[in-house]
């Protein structure tokens, strides 16, 4: 289904090149485990509940530190530096802003609508930019911080400009929108003072987006056909309603449909991750991403069942499995020298951007 057909630039390899050094593959590795993370998760959950949510900022830092700190490549791990107080402050600002907005909406509905549109058009790209800066600058590897140099204008073009392009072309340019968003996030990232390059071409995006689209259409068409033959219903409007009332068969069908939807989602996510991470070049290092749809779908579906049947308790294991699969299939095609990066100055950004993004659940594309 997904044989990683990614057209992409290759590392300099001709032997005639005097600078040629043999390439080595440096795999990513996840060293955490579900049992250990379960204990961290449940203790932090309890602390969050009994502090009425305030501790969640600390819990978030511990969670990210656990996952970053267990992610190794070439024998060294990543580190997350976000500070709970900065995150808490960001969250409070967001909640306060939200309350103000709701009140405004009660008193001046028209003004609030305009505000919401303005926020959607200009606020979201700004939030994404800030959020990216925070995430990257709060991450280090080998005591060198990552960085993000994206500007507001670039975010506007990628997230809003291309969105309208996708809309006026009736979705045909949707893949370009997806790609631009990833490109904004990755092209502007840097490790130390080494800028990332994003190499994945548009063709890759068009291919997997359209395959996903047709899989989805086929799925709905199949469901529609089954509905008609089994229940004699037509008109999509009433489908869910009829199924929910058609007894056990209806629920089985509904569940089967849901699992199939997850399958399509798995294909999309594997392809999108490969296209995004697999397109990253940092100096002479090239990231390789070889997620495959079926194993990813298997993990999604089995995680889903396990979480439902354990009433949520399997959650930490599910997270670890998901992350481990992704990292096990990611590697750096390297010249073997990760020691040559140098630092840039400029750290210290508050957490508001990222928290705004978290709160409104903006899709960051990768």
């Amino acid at each position: 289904m997904n044989e990683n057909p990614y057209e992409r630039a290759s590392p300099p390899s001709p032997p005639s090149n005097p600078d040629y050094t043999p390439r080595v593959e440096l795999p990513f590795e996840f060293r955490g485990n579900g049992g250990e993370y379960f204990r961290i998760w449940i203790v932090n959950l309890l602390l969050t509940i009994i502090t009425l949510g305030i501790y969640s900022a600390w819990a978030k830092v511990r969670r990210l530190r656990y996952f970053y700190g267990n992610t190794f490549v070439d024998g060294q791990s990543f580190e997350y530096h976000g500070q709970p107080i900065a995150i808490l402050k960001g969250r409070l600002i967001v909640v306060a802003g939200y309350v103000v907005f709701v009140i405004t909406a009660q008193i001046f509905p028209i003004f609030a609508t305009l505000l919401a549109i303005g926020l959607g058009l200009f606020g979201v790209p700004w939030i994404i930019m800030r959020s990216r800066k925070f995430q990257m600058r709060m991450t280090s590897y080998r005591n060198l911080r990552f960085n993000f140099h994206g500007e507001f204008g670039g975010a506007m073009a990628a997230f809003i400009g291309y969105y309208f392009l996708a809309v006026i072309t009736l979705g045909i340019m949707f893949p370009s929108w997806v790609r631009k968003r990833v490109q904004y996030s990755l092209d502007n990232a840097a490790y130390g003072n080494q800028q990332f390059s994003f190499l994945t071409g548009s063709g890759v995006y068009y291919k997997f987006c359209f395959i996903t689209f047709f899989l989805g259409v086929a799925l709905y068409a199949g469901l529609y056909a089954v509905m008609r033959t089994m229940f004699g219903v037509s008109g999509l409007e009433t489908d869910i309603y009829v199924m929910a009332n058609a007894g056990v068969m209806g629920w089985v069908l509904l569940f089967g449909f849901f699992v199939a939807l997850l399958g399509v989602a798995g294909y999309y996510q594997a392809s999108a991750a490969n296209a995004a991470f697999g397109g990253v070049q940092v100096g002479s290092q090239y990231v390789r991403s070889n997620l495959r749809a079926w194993p990813l779908i298997g993990i999604y579906v089995s995680n889903l069942f396990a979480i439902v049947f354990t009433l949520g308790m399997y959650y930490p294991w599910a997270m670890v499995r998901q992350v481990r699969y992704q990292l096990d299939n990611t590697a750096i095609d390297s010249d073997g020298n990760l020691a040559g990066f140098t630092a840039s100055s400029g750290v210290g950004i508050d957490a508001v951007g990222e928290e705004v993004g978290d709160f409104f659940d903006v899709d960051f594309g990768i």
Binding site: R65, N143, L144, A244, A343
Partner: protein, 380 residues
């Protein structure tokens, strides 16, 4: 004590194999660099331990010593009496009995929250909201029902007016901010039934009107539906759903793969609330009947006859299933709500098709097969 690891100076990504020594003289030494580094212990920062992730000892100039030997760092820190993050949280996180205890606490708190917290907050919020909110929730519900379920009423205009007049005398003295309105529809496959929409519109099917032997029976059903509107059950149901969703997302929110399932969680838990609402509406109906000098038995009679009419030819099968899915049913079983005379005749003319629950998709009723035959569903 000597700990091995790697030292990164923070200017390049190059690391060197190094050894770290916590000196008893109050200095920290890093060996392996060209010149050994010596800094006072008071100026270093030891990262908090989470699980067994790489430990970082940060020096004042930004250099970092990284090691996997967490236990040795902890030991050195403790023996020197240094403060280093919050060892308490790590202590809690690394013990299975603490984890199991936490799990029990989380489960108990969640159950208590769903059982008492959510309804209490929902009731409070509903009490604060004006009756217009109910109106907004109900707007359009009748249109949806008309599209997917109902057909225009075939009752004679005169009969409709009679019942409306009765309804007006019933609801006028209530004066509770709701605007009550009675509508008639042909139920079709829904059969004999009545619905209360949060906006105050009460829909009664022709079949129900035909099923009733006296107007007092119909009035008792109307009183039950008025009980739903007055009790603001639709609004409270919505608020409770929001509360339960928030809880579910707070506990498991960042798992993208299961958010779809989480959104279904309230539907299951709500079935129970829905039955509580039915009991509340029943209680209101009976009280209202008492206060207005109408025999309460009218309510029992019509409920039982409805029960029979919905069972119809499938009566046997229905009896078998009656209480099996009780947790999921939206209504309490009829035997719990009313005393039915055993010899009640079956009204086949109003018998309905097998569809057990006519709830449109935006309704909060739990649509499980095996639900006891519906009698007076309510909130849209």
């Amino acid at each position: 004590m000597v700990i091995t690891g790697r030292y990164f100076d923070g200017r390049t990504s190059a690391g060197i194999e190094a050894r770290l020594e916590f000196g008893a003289d109050g200095n920290l030494r890093v060996y392996g660099t060209a010149e050994p580094i010596v800094v006072p212990l008071a100026e270093i920062r030891i990262s908090e331990r989470v699980g067994n992730i790489t430990r970082r000892i940060t020096l004042p100039d930004g250099g970092v010593f990284e090691t996997q030997d967490n236990d040795a760092v902890d030991e050195a820190r403790d023996s020197l009496g240094m403060r280093g993050g919050s060892p308490l949280v790590h202590w809690l996180e690394s013990r299975w009995h603490v984890a199991v205890g936490s799990l029990v606490m989380v489960v108990l708190i969640s159950i208590a929250f769903v059982q008492w917290g959510v309804p209490a907050v929902a009731n409070w919020a509903a009490a604060v909201m004006p009756a217009e909110v109910d109106h907004a929730i109900g707007a359009g519900s009748l249109d949806v029902l008309d599209r997917v379920a109902f057909e225009p009423s075939e009752l004679p205009k005169k009969r409709q007016q009679e019942l409306r007049a009765r309804f007006v005398t019933m609801t006028k003295p209530l004066d509770d901010g709701h605007v009550y309105q009675l509508e008639f529809r042909h139920g079709g496959y829904i059969g004999a039934n009545a619905f209360a929409l949060p906006s105050g519109i009460i829909v009664m099917t022709d079949e129900l009107v035909e099923l009733a032997k006296t107007d007092d029976e119909l009035v008792s059903v109307l009183a039950h539906e008025v009980g739903h509107v007055r009790g603001r059950h639709a609004l409270r149901q919505l608020l409770q759903a929001a509360g339960i969703s928030s809880l579910a997302f707070a506990l498991l929110g960042d798992v993208s793969t299961i958010s779809g399932v989480l959104s279904a969680a309230p539907a299951l838990l709500q079935a129970k609330n829905s039955r509580d609402f039915e009991r509340e509406a029943d209680a209101f109906a009976k009280q209202w009947l008492r206060e207005n000098g109408i025999a309460e038995s009218n309510f029992d009679t019509i409920l039982c006859r409805l029960d029979d009419s919905h069972s119809g030819e499938e009566a046997e099968e229905k009896d078998k299933d009656k209480d099996r899915f009780d947790y999921f049913s939206s209504h309490p079983s009829t035997s719990e709500r009313a005393q039915c005379p055993k010899e009640e005749e079956v009204e086949t003319d109003a018998a309905t098709e097998a569809e057990p629950d006519p709830a449109p998709e935006d309704e909060a009723e739990a649509p499980f097969e095996g639900a006891p035959p519906i009698d007076t569903p309510s909130q849209a």
